[in-house]
């Protein structure tokens, strides 16, 4: 293990997050078991009060999850010099087999926690706790993931040995090394990927606008927003990063959050994560439109979420386009690596 302040901070955050979530999930299960809205028993009153605790805890966990996602990448980046051959996060994440799974789970958990908050917000608008059981089932689903994430993260950090020869982003995300998903994504030709990105984005945005204005096609939009999330990540690795780094061979999704690139990555990823959470959240709420106590309000909430999602994706696209246009890199021909 490497004793580094940032690693300690990471582990601390993830233990605290897991602990809080388990605590919340425990009461969530109590609620699932004993909930009876018509009762005026003290038990019911206690459970209703617990819902406040759980939503407070979950909002904190959500915030923590977002911050720790970035902190995690930061740490991975800062540890680069300790490992032979690792120059940035891409290399350090590869130090052992737990790095990338942790990162992927972190992203997944962030989205799940966000969806839970969306559901919670909608539930709080109804006077009879219409979604309470669904909400706590979802919580019960999210909790194990966060625990697994914590376990993986612990293994990742505790299993680190300085001076291990690892690959850096130069070889991992370059197409010389034809193994692994990373390099396969990187090997995708930049231009077609950009075309795909813009076309899917156009479809997503217009579908979102349609869903917002006509209140139809919400499910399609939710699906598209998830697809768009994946396509955007792909595009960042295989094409957009090239324009930001102004290097035709540097495919790294992590370096863009570094100081050298004016922290542009934060904005990009925040918009992207925000877009996918709100977009999927709108789809998540759609089945409950007909619930009596939510009927008058839910349409508005879904509309707002859709709008937020569309705006964030649009802003993301605008930012990406600006980066591409202002970049001095010109991919005028198909680069054959």
């Amino acid at each position: 293990m490497i004793l580094n302040p940032t690693i300690i901070a990471n582990l601390l955050a993830s233990y605290i997050g897991s602990f809080m979530l388990l605590y919340a999930a425990y009461y969530g299960v109590q609620i699932l078991k004993h909930w009876n809205i018509d009762s005026g028993d003290e038990l019911q009153l206690v459970l209703e009060r617990k819902t406040y605790l759980i939503s407070t805890v979950l909002s904190y966990v959500f915030g923590l999850q977002l911050l720790s996602l970035f902190l995690f990448i930061f740490t991975a980046d800062a540890l680069g010099p300790l490992f032979v051959g690792a120059m940035c996060a891409a290399g350090t994440l590869n130090v052992n087999g737990f790095g990338y799974p942790t990162l992927e789970l972190k992203i997944l958990n962030f989205i799940l926690a966000g969806l839970w908050l969306v559901l919670n917000h909608a539930d709080n608008q109804g006077y009879d706790y219409p979604l309470i059981k669904k909400k706590y089932w979802l919580l019960a689903v999210v909790a194990p993931f966060i625990v697994i994430e914590t376990v993986l993260e612990s293994f990742y950090f505790l299993g680190m040995r300085a001076n291990v020869i690892t690959s850096c982003c130069g070889s991992l995300f370059s197409s010389e090394n034809v193994e692994g998903l990373g390099s396969e994504i990187a090997a995708l030709p930049a231009k077609p990927v950009l075309w795909t990105f813009y076309l899917t984005m156009l479809a997503t945005l217009s579908c979102g606008a349609f869903a917002y204005l006509k209140r139809r096609g919400g499910y399609v939009y939710a699906g598209l927003s998830l697809l768009m999330f994946a396509v955007s990540l792909l595009a960042i690795i295989s094409a957009i990063s090239l324009y930001i780094y102004e290097l035709p061979t540097h495919h790294c999704p992590f370096c863009i959050i570094m100081e050298d690139y004016q922290y542009i990555g934060y904005l990009l990823y925040l918009l992207l994560f925000g877009g996918v959470v709100t977009g999927m959240g709108s789809g998540l709420l759609l089945p409950f439109r007909e619930v009596a106590s939510l009927k008058p309000l839910l349409g508005g909430i879904i509309g707002k979420l859709t709008l937020a999602s569309v705006l964030m994706y649009a802003l993301f696209t605008a930012l990406v386009s600006y980066e591409i246009l202002s970049s001095s890199l010109v991919i005028s021909y198909e680069v054959v690596y």
Partner: protein, 97 residues
């Protein structure tokens, strides 16, 4: 004035001060660039290998050159009897991969 205005004002002041200090940091970083380059040049010319931070004992001076003829430091994790041992360790990772 409302308390909340005062609060946000003081928060903004603190954040501003911090931002100022960070600007100072990046400013002095670039200011120190030539200075650092010259220090690096001196290091290069004299073939130095270590910082002159811990001068209390011979073996703490050139940490990377590990002068092994000294007590209390044959084991890499042995406790130091010199106070600077609380800041540095006898070198660990000096062996080839």
């Amino acid at each position: 004035m409302r308390h909340s205005t005062l609060f946000f004002l003081s928060l903004a002041c603190q954040a501003g001060l911090l931002a100022l200090l960070l600007t100072h940091a990046s400013f002095s970083e670039s200011l120190q660039k030539t200075n650092l380059a010259r220090k690096a040049e001196l290091v290069e010319n004299l073939r130095l290998t270590d910082l002159c931070l811990f001068t209390e004992a011979r073996y703490t001076r050139h940490l990377s050159q590990a002068d092994l003829n000294t007590a209390f430091q044959d084991h890499p994790l042995s406790l130091e009897h010199f106070p600077s041992g609380s800041f540095t360790q006898p070198t660990l990772e000096q062996f080839l991969p």
